[in-house]
């Protein structure tokens, strides 16, 4: 990381750094993580930071919080280029690229209001992940754009 970028976002002691988020998606990533500012851990956000690979990217540093696999799964849908760095005692102990899962369960709501998954039934939503979107396992509705609007976590 260049000194210039270090000035933008300071190092964290323990937690997660999510880098290479698609520009402008960091607030949606926070929504996926269920972080709204009322928690005790500190969050640093860099938005539209210049990036060699992406042109512009967002970067998030979350102190005291590590991501679960289901969170990473959903993250991959809106930030497919993201890298996830787990930091312990100021050191990066794990560095992973997100991988698109074959399905996401219980994290997106179906945009088809007439889908059984939107009724009061004891089922979790389930979407198959396609090359360019997701598809509801129950009603087959395809969702390509604005996935973040349907995140239900």
């Amino acid at each position: 990381m260049s000194p210039d970028r270090e000035l933008r976002v300071s190092k964290i002691r323990n937690g997660t750094v999510i880098d290479h988020i698609t520009g402008g998606q960091s607030l949606n990533v926070l929504a996926i993580l269920g972080i709204d500012g009322s928690e005790e851990f500190s969050v640093s956000i860099g938005m539209n930071v210049p990036s060699d690979r992406l042109g512009h990217k967002d970067i998030l540093k979350v102190e005291g919080r590590e991501l679960s696999q289901s969170e990473v799964d959903v993250l991959s849908l809106i930030a497919p280029e993201a890298t996830i760095n787990i930091v312990r005692d100021y050191e990066v102990v794990e560095k992973n690229r997100v991988e698109r899962p074959t399905e996401v369960v219980g994290v997106l709501s179906c945009p088809n209001r007439n889908c059984i998954s939107n009724d009061d039934e004891p089922v979790e939503t389930r979407f198959a992940v396609m090359a360019d979107g997701v598809r509801c396992d129950y009603c087959s509705e395809i969702l390509r754009d604005r996935l973040a609007e349907h995140i239900d976590v």
């Binding site: 088809n112 007439n114 889908c115 059984i116 998954s117 939107n118 004891p122 396992d137 129950y138 087959s140």
Partner: protein, 305 residues
Amino acid sequence: MRQDHLITATQLSRPDIEAVLDRAREIDESREAFEQRYSGSVLALCFFEPSTRTKMSFETAAKRLGAETIDMGSVESSSVKKGESLADTVRVIEGYADALVLRHPSEGSAKMASEFVDVPVINAGDGAGQHPSQTLLDLHTIRERHGLDDLTIGIMGDLKYGRTVHSLASALTNFDANQHFISPESLQLPRSVRFDLHEAGAQVREHTEIETILPELDVLYVTRIQRERFPDENEYHEIAGEYRIDADTLSAAREDLTVMHPLPRVDEIAADVDETDHARYFEQAHNGVPVRMALLDMLLGGGSE
């Protein structure tokens, strides 16, 4: 066919379809051989929406196989009115029956129900989703007259919300069929059905008027344009009038054109078509019984023998 449930037409392969239709033909030719075959079995008819044809043809099919049927009565008088979930309802009924036939207003309801029970579930219509047993009887009707390959079929009407259309279009991708979809722009096929057709490499064309394609068709499958889809009554009448056929319209068609309709019709097929050789919709409705007998035989019997 070795499947536990019939949920969508997309799950049906060509051999699956041919196995059911062959069995239906066998039943048509020797009905007495199948009588009492399922004596002692019970079929549950779970209809959360009003239905006449589908429900009665499943009921008749079960009785002709010697099976008993049970049903929930009207939704108003059932526990659904007390707020019971569909998942609970089917889990209870599973204990009474050997198979469930489900009609429900929500898309994906049959899929969900199948996850909660161990007996076969047959989707008899899930909202604007799928209606695969209707498709099997549609294909039986087409096959008996034209075969299922080298076919040019026009499907006209409400393609967006028409579940019979969604199932039929998917099933036809198993065969060498050119599909022409004729509808107002506002009622064209939904994205999910288009995706499946594209993935299956189907030959598909879309039209807003019937005249351009009518002379090429072997089969014209007409569906009702539903008045409730239009907030403006005048707009409905204007559009519906353009998707109505009569004997005069069909003078431009091939002599052996087959006109089909899942019924009920309102006025999209004029009564004077009934008297022509094109009309096959009542025969199509009658085919519901042998085809559903075949389907029940294969699901209750655990597959082809």
